[in-house]
């Protein structure tokens, strides 16, 4: 029988970090945190868990991406154009603002990706999973993981081109 207090104490920090980084909101992160552990509890009733951190990170990433998608859908419907302008006036100093803008854009683009590509991408670059670990966790082949990653990066590259340094853009133009 699983000692959930121990699991929470041991891996609560990992889960929190994963969900908080992606959703960038304490209340949403708290929801995702609880849902992650409930999903882990359901999983553990069906199968024995060999790798708690791997399982929790995967579940947390999936919940956080779901939350991001939900938020994106709500934002598109509810936020009028002038609201964005108003919000932009509350942004911190220029450098931090630019970084936050990049991260928000990145989150939005991750939410817009197909779920399998987004999940693979997050596990690879945000959780530092190896291809093999991703394949094990998601039940995919390593080749399939590579394909999904490639597609995700291609999609993100186009979306994030505006954030590329000037020199980089210049080289592309020159070439």
């Amino acid at each position: 029988m699983t000692d959930w207090s121990q699991v929470l104490a041991e891996y609560g920090g990992i889960v929190w970090k994963t969900v908080r980084r992606l959703v960038n909101d304490d209340a949403d992160a708290a929801d995702c945190f609880q849902e992650t552990f409930v999903a882990a509890w359901e999983f553990s009733r069906k199968r024995s868990v060999q790798n708690w951190p791997g399982l929790l990170k995967r579940l947390a990433t999936a919940r956080a991406l779901d939350q991001l998608r939900k938020r994106m859908r709500t934002a598109v419907v509810s936020l009028p154009a002038e609201a964005t302008t108003k919000l932009s006036g509350q942004l911190p100093p220029p450098a931090a603002a630019e970084e936050n803008e990049l991260f928000d854009q990145l989150r939005a683009e991750l939410a817009a990706l197909p779920s399998d590509q987004a999940e693979v991408c997050c596990l690879r670059f945000l959780e530092s999973f190896s291809y093999e670990q991703i394949a094990d966790e998601l039940g995919l082949t390593i080749n399939h993981v590579g394909v999904l990653l490639h597609r995700a990066k291609s999609a993100l590259q186009n979306s994030l081109a505006a954030f590329a340094p000037t020199g980089h853009n210049k080289r592309e133009v020159d070439s």
Partner: protein, 322 residues
């Protein structure tokens, strides 16, 4: 923020997000709420899986399943007749059991082959002139020699009565409606080629005497058949096949005795006759409704003509072709 030396913009952006400072620990309240929720889920699940009722059901369930499976398998085996009582019943047991029977009565029905009758109508009329053989017959046998056969008309009334005493070889045929009695004292066999006549005492034949029929079957001559249900009761079958080779053809008689495995007495007898002689049509009989050791009056088996009956004496004629 983005290192221009790094060629992959996406990787850089994601790594930046990964390394962005985030509060490492979840709020304490969230941890306690989550722990409480998990405990509640665990308790709910345990109360279902380990509650007294569920526990009892889970303990009993495997036995119930095993019992049900066994019952189904045993039922199927019994139904398919794989447990065959014939393995413990030899036909000799049936014969010996019948020797203990003092009286038996049964009904015999002849099953007609309409097609053959139509095709051989003229021949048949010549061959059978009494016609009474086609109606149901009630047989009464009083061990060991008395045999009474009542032939019924289509309305169920007794048309004729044949009484045979197999000890004396005497038999009488009564026609109650006409109050006529035919006494057969002997049988005359005429040899077809030589014309020689042989007069002998009337003997029981395999066809018309149950005792003779069953007792004369040689040991080991029967074949066991798969059991089947007759009138809702299981019966074990024994087949006796007999070939009688004659000059005009070969007659094949098949007798199937369906035996009650408990009483070891017949519940149904099926008789069929087929012949390669084209003049002989297919015939089938079924004997059923057996009653053993019924209280049969000896008066039913008297071969003296009843009072008031006109009597005539006759001989049973038979032609022997070989």
């Amino acid at each position: 923020m983005i290192d221009s030396n790094k060629s992959d913009l996406v990787e850089q952006a994601l790594e930046s997000l990964r390394d962005a400072p985030i509060p490492a620990a979840p709020p304490a309240q969230l941890l306690s709420e989550t722990a409480e929720r998990l405990r509640s889920l665990e308790a709910q699940a345990n109360s279902y899986t380990q509650g007294p009722r569920r526990k009892m059901v889970s303990q009993v369930a495997p036995y119930c399943r095993a019992t049900a499976i066994c019952a189904v398998v045993v039922g199927a085996i019994v139904w398919m007749g794989l447990i065959d009582h014939s393995t413990v019943i030899a036909f000799a047991n049936v014969q010996s059991q019948l020797k203990k029977v003092k009286a038996v009565q049964y009904v015999e029905i002849r099953i007609e082959d309409e097609e053959w009758n139509k095709a051989h109508a003229q021949q048949r009329d010549l061959k059978i002139n009494t016609g009474d053989i086609f109606f149901p017959r009630r047989h009464f046998v009083l061990a060991p020699y008395g045999h009474r056969t009542e032939t019924l008309d289509p309305s169920g009334q007794v048309q004729s009565v044949h009484i045979a005493d197999w000890q004396t070889g005497t038999s009488v045929m009564l026609h109650p409606k006409e109050k006529r009695c035919m006494i057969f004292e002997s049988q005359v066999t005429i040899h077809a080629k030589t014309g020689q006549q042989t007069e002998t005492k009337i003997k029981p034949t395999l066809y018309n005497n149950l005792y003779a029929e069953i007792h004369e079957i040689p040991p080991g001559a029967t074949t066991q058949l798969p059991a089947k249900f007759l009138d809702g009761k299981r019966a074990v079958g024994f087949l006796w096949e007999q070939k009688i080779v004659k000059q005009a053809g070969t007659d094949t008689w098949k007798r199937t005795y369906w035996i009650d495995p408990d009483t070891r007495r017949p519940v149904r007898i099926e008789i069929s006759q087929r012949s390669t002689d084209k003049r002989v049509g297919p015939s089938d009989w079924v004997q059923r409704d057996f009653v053993f050791d019924a209280d049969l009056s000896p008066a039913l088996f008297h071969t003296k003509p009843p009072e008031g009956y006109a009597t005539e004496t006759n001989k049973i004629l038979g032609i022997k072709s070989e």
